[in-house]
């Protein structure tokens, strides 16, 4: 039975284990064919920033894995507009994530949606399970 899962990511990618743990649970949920959407808000918007380099902190750079989300049929990745703006970031600072539509000759379609806090509230209201990291 597929349920609508929303994973809310609110923490910076390194320094705590939350971002990586969230990504693992997201991949597992999607592998079990659940309907999975993601939100990045607060410091969570940093998880998707381009050009991460982790050599100096001795941790694996897992940011390339976000590009695989499309392969896992994850087509809705919401970025909270207010969080992005408060940190002086724009969508250009984030990875450009897409999914490929098999029924449309593998056309690449955007997975990232910039939404306001208000819009996010109605997206959340529409979910069956919400898990926050």
């Amino acid at each position: 039975m597929a349920k609508k899962f929303l994973f809310v990511n609110r923490k910076a990618p390194y320094g705590t284990i939350y971002a990586l743990e969230s990504l693992e649970v997201v991949l597992i949920s999607a592998a079990f064919e659940q309907v999975v959407s993601l939100v990045f808000m607060d410091d969570g918007v940093y998880e998707l920033t381009r050009g991460q380099k982790t050599d100096a902190i001795g941790m694996k750079n897992f940011s390339p894995t976000y590009s695989a989300l499309g392969d896992y049929e994850i087509k809705n990745i919401y970025i909270e507009k207010e969080s992005l703006e408060a940190r002086g970031l724009t969508l250009d600072d984030l990875q450009h994530l897409v999914w490929e539509d098999e029924d449309d000759d593998w056309a690449e379609k955007d997975s990232i949606h910039l939404v306001s806090s208000k819009e996010l509230a109605s997206i959340m209201a529409d979910q069956e399970v919400i898990i926050t990291f």
Binding site: E24, A30, K60, P64, S67, A68, E102
Partner: protein
């Protein structure tokens, strides 16, 4: 149990997956397969090489459903299906092919 190739011993976990990804060589892939009585053909290597490239790009081993779809896109529909992949890797295409590719077990793999 460690696996030995050309006199060099490589550490594996309790399920036989390589502990150190950087240890992997083609010979080591063959040796891991031989332990399971599996002889690797070009068809096997096509999948193994695909998995290594996937890991290189995304830093994960894909789940079986993702692998099947991606193989279909890359190598054609006749190969991107469970029947074809299970014939090559009867213990589970993602699980078994990842082992010979020197990758960790796919995330979400039971």
């Amino acid at each position: 149990m460690p696996i030995e190739v050309n006199g060099v011993s490589h550490e594996t976990d309790e399920e036989g997956y390589l502990v150190n990804l950087a240890d992997w060589t083609r010979e080591l892939g063959e040796a891991l397969a031989t332990e399971d009585d599996c002889e690797l053909t070009d068809a096997h290597w096509e999948v193994i090489n695909f998995l290594r490239e996937y890991y290189e790009e995304y830093q994960i081993a894909p789940a079986v459903r993702v692998l099947t779809k991606a193989i279909g896109k890359r190598l054609g529909k006749d190969k991107g299906n469970s029947k074809y992949l299970y014939e090559l890797f009867p213990y589970g295409p993602a699980k078994q092919a990842c082992k010979y590719a020197g990758l960790p077990k796919p995330t979400g793999c039971v």
